[in-house]
Amino acid sequence: MSEHIDPAAAPVTSRATSDPAGTLTAGAAGALDVSVGRVRREQLHQLVRSKAFIVGSVILLWWIVCAIFGASFAPYNATTANILNTQLAPSAAHWFGTNDVGEDVLSRVIVGARDILEIAPLATLLGTVLGTTIGLAQGYLRGAFDMLVGRIVDAALSLPIVIVAFLFVVAVGASTITLIVVIGFVFSLIIARTVRTAVLQERELDYLAAARLRDESVPHVMFVEILPNVLGPILVEFTVRLGYAIFTIATLSFLGFGVQLPTPDWGADIAINSNYLAAGYWWETLFPALAIASLVIAINLIGDSIEAVLIQ
């Protein structure tokens, strides 16, 4: 790894000769940063040491394990109805109780992680890739393209994302693919905006003037020159969007346009079981809700700690 240079290369790492103007702004501690080469590794260390990151990762990891292996260690089959055991309160046999058809709530919460953890990352990934491309083009090309896309983004963002997704799902019909495409597309507009701002800052830098003087092609400048320098904000945006994606998917399921029953799904379960809240059967709504909350919080914790490390 080029980041890790051995101490024998000490001369290169010394900051002996940088900008005299930087002496003050970089601060005295900055002047001490002898091993600049270790900055990236240092950032990683800092991330791994941050409590928020650890907590977030542990929770996320738990849900990933549930999504992959949940069916094999869940105490009951999540889709086996048992009319003799409906609406049981939490007990030793059913830790989270049972629902209206006698399915075990704990098992459904565990297995229900699967779809959401499939759709959300894929949708976010699609949105990030698409949004990054649009944002790079907007920021670098400026002009009419930037104006046009900028207005479309404004228009799209004036509607709540759930409504937009809702319209699409109604038109095309609910399926995993539809969800991924719809959420990915809407997210790409939001991500494009972030990327564009970052690109505008890069645009002022002389390395792009140097690229112009080498007659580099537009795609080369966008993806080889600029993209690596704006990965930081993109990574942060990805985690933030991932949280929103989970939230959106759960909402759509709640509205009945997401994952279809009887496949266990947190949002759909909340929708069905909330009918029984008034009757005092709180557990079948509360636990899926907590699952959603914990997953969103975990991702936000991770996102925040990445951002904190990148910003300093």
């Binding site: 002996a16 940088s18 002496t23 112009r212 007659d215 320098n229």
Partner: protein, 694 residues
């Protein structure tokens, strides 16, 4: 500057000193380890004395200031020694005492005046606050603020007080900062690189101001700068810092005339002075690199880079030797220091430019107007220039004079106005670089001022140079690899640098990468836009010599932009002086420097502080460069010209650029003989017996 009543000679042992720093160690805690940033630093500043700390970046100048004001960052602490200001130790003060101490006893002026003021609060509020802290009523504080600004020679204090910081120029803001710092009549004023961000003409004004106020307020000054000439001008006594140690200390003139530490000797040899040229009396360099904090545990901290070092220097830490005449030097061989052998040869043979041949670049009537918000900013106006093969053209002028715009137009990064002609070896160039062919692009490249911005920070050195070789020289495969190694060696870098990214390199190495990239396509013309202004002097010297050697070998023409006249003079064969986008003077470098000068060139020259101790302060430019959107009528320089004619000609008619001597062009109504007479007689009056410059 020499104070009439400077205490330097009269009393080395003042009964009471303003600042007493003794055996100070400062450590920063980084990754759980203490690293010494300052080691055994001792100095004192007497009443009304001005003490300078000079050294390159990372040597601990600012850390010293932070330790004195107790503003060290949270991970820093005084690990040994003590600081006494007026006999009190700031480290032992409680919160209230410390606040009072900072409000009354000590003041600090920073490098960036624009960042020291709150951008969203009017200047008046911020200045008045200084008095309010002292318990003055609001209205009275405002009135006193106005008085204060008058004192720092601000012509219209009322208007300035109602302005926001962004509406004022850097020089104006720095004067306000100085006024605020002095308002509380502190015992000690700390100036940390106060003029580094300013133009030479403005710097001269600010320095004059500091000198006069210092006498008036009877304040002691701690002046921090990397600029040796500024320190020489401003300080009674000087301390030279290197890698966290004070290596030499003594009266300013003594130190600069007769240094007794090898580091000081080396540093002084890196600064271009009159008479030094790229081929004759070359700048020397300091070999090696600054050691990291804590890297040198025993022995002399400079030993690794010192040509005088012996085994003893590696094993035995030198104490502060008394070198006589109130001076101390931390060197075992301080008596031999002045004979430090040079690290590089003094004279080299460089091919001289081919003056007879056809010009490589021909500019005719090149103008550039920016149209913004209904205003027409004429950044470059009607420039005609010829550049010969292997020649260096120096472009000088204050910021805002159009130097960089002209360079960008030449490169095709900015599109010039209709009718501008740029020819490369006789054939016209498209105004925009995107429309120029590969051969034309290859022929003209640039080294930017700031390598952090010019190099893609995510690309390795190998990638950066290889890409330029591929695109500009059209090389690939083995040929490309061979040329890569060749180029890397020609900028004196090594193969081990290839996989590194810019952030892993020092400033000087980064600039070498930028130079290597520019040379990848074997250009005919290379624009160097302030290539050394972000570098320390010792690194600057190495880069300047490198550029000179590469030029001689590759027969490249340089357009060298710099605000540093010493640097321009060292490297240039001819010089063009720009003011508000117009060439005011153009001619062979030595002629432009020896005169007769254009009044503008004359003011630029007299603004530069010199190390030779000869204050060439003939004339001072007042005010700042006018906006290019509203250029003055007639001669654009008439608003600031110290030699404006009384008959009104300068205000009404713009003079043409006329050849007054062979190859020497001036844009001035005053006849050249009259200029020569004015400038030589005043010279003689002012500095009887001083040899003329050059």
């Amino acid at each position: 500057m020499t104070l009439p009543a400077s205490p330097e000679l009269s009393a080395p042992v003042e009964p009471s000193t303003t600042l007493e720093v003794s055996h100070l160690d400062v450590a920063y805690r980084v990754r759980g380890k203490d690293r010494l940033a300052l080691r055994d630093v001792s100095f004192s500043i007497g009443r009304q004395e001005s003490f300078g700390l000079v050294g390159e970046s990372g040597c601990g100048k600012s850390t010293t200031a932070l330790a004195v004001t107790r503003y060290l960052p949270r991970n820093g602490r005084l690990s040994a020694g003590s600081v006494l200001v007026n006999g009190q130790d700031p480290a032992k003060m409680d919160k209230r005492a410390l606040r009072r101490f900072r409000a009354r006893t000590i003041s600090m002026v920073y490098q960036e005046p624009g960042r020291a003021l709150n951008p969203s609060i009017r200047v008046g509020r911020q200045v008045a606050e200084v008095y309010e802290v002292g318990g003055t009523k609001k209205n009275e504080a405002l009135a006193r603020a106005e008085e204060l600004l008058g004192m720092v020679q601000i012509a219209d204090p009322g208007r300035v007080l109602r302005s926001y910081p962004h509406q004022l120029s850097g020089g104006m803001l720095q004067r306000i900062m100085i006024a605020m710092a002095l308002a509380s009549q502190p015992s000690l004023l700390i100036l940390d690189e106060p003029t580094t961000a300013l133009d030479a003409t403005v710097e001269a004004e600010v320095l004059d101001l500091v000198s006069s106020l210092r006498q008036r307020f009877q304040t002691s000054v701690l002046f921090i700068s990397h600029n040796l000439a500024v320190i020489a001008k401003m300080c009674d006594r000087v301390g030279v810092m290197y890698a966290g140690e004070l290596v030499e200390q003594g009266p300013a003139q003594e130190i600069f005339d007769n240094p007794r530490h090898p580091y000081t000797v080396g540093l002084l040899r890196c600064v271009p002075r009159g008479g030094q040229r790229k081929d004759h009396g070359r700048l020397d360099t300091i070999p090696g690199f600054l050691p990291g904090p804590g890297e040198v545990q025993v022995g002399c901290i400079f030993a690794k880079r010192c040509a005088l070092a012996s085994q003893r220097c590696l094993e035995e830490t030198p104490p502060m030797y008394d070198a006589g005449a109130g001076r101390t030097s931390r060197c075992h061989y301080h008596e031999q220091a002045p004979e430090l052998p040079r690290a590089t040869p003094e004279d080299v043979t460089l091919r001289s430019p081919d003056r007879s041949g056809e010009p490589v670049i021909r500019l005719r009537g090149v103008s550039k107007t920016f149209h913004t918000r209904g205003e027409h900013v004429r950044a470059v106006v009607g420039v005609d220039l010829d550049l010969k093969a292997g020649e260096t053209l120096g472009l000088v002028g204050e910021s805002g004079s159009g130097k960089t715009t002209l360079a960008r137009v030449l490169l095709g990064l900015s599109v010039p106005d209709e009718g501008s002609i740029i020819e490369l070896e006789g054939s016209p160039l498209a105004p925009e670089c995107a429309k120029r062919d590969r051969r034309q692009l290859q022929a003209m490249q640039i080294v930017f001022q700031n390598p952090d911005s010019a190099l893609n920070r995510r690309h390795s050195v190998r990638h950066i140079i290889t890409r330029a070789l591929k695109k500009l020289a059209g090389l690939s495969g083995e040929a490309c690899e061979r040329r890569l190694l060749e180029i890397v060696r020609s900028v004196r870098m090594e193969e081990r640098h290839l996989p590194l990214r810019p952030y892993q390199l020092s400033g000087g190495l980064k600039q070498r990468v930028a130079i290597a990239r520019a040379f990848a396509g074997a250009p005919r013309v290379l624009v160097c836009d302030e290539p050394t202004s972000a570098l320390d002097v010792s690194v600057q010297a190495a880069i300047l010599n490198l550029l000179a050697d590469l030029q001689s070998r590759e027969r490249v023409t340089y357009v060298f932009i710099s605000h540093d006249l010493g640097v321009v003079r060292y490297l240039s064969d001819s010089i063009a002086v720009l003011y508000l986008g117009r060439v005011m003077e153009y001619g062979p470098a030595e002629t432009v420097f020896s005169g007769p000068h254009h009044p503008y060139t004359e003011s630029l020259l007299s603004a530069v502080p010199s190390l030779d101790g000869s204050p060439r302060e003939r004339i001072r430019l007042k005010g700042e460069i006018p906006s290019a959107a509203h250029s003055p009528s007639g001669c654009v320089f008439h608003t600031r010209c110290p030699r404006r004619l009384a008959n009104g000609l300068c205000e009404s008619t713009e003079p043409g650029l006329v050849e007054v001597e062979p190859g020497h062009m001036l844009r001035c109504h005053i006849p050249v003989d009259e200029l020569r007479r004015l400038q030589t007689t005043e010279d003689a009056d002012l500095k009887a017996g001083q040899p003329k410059i050059s």
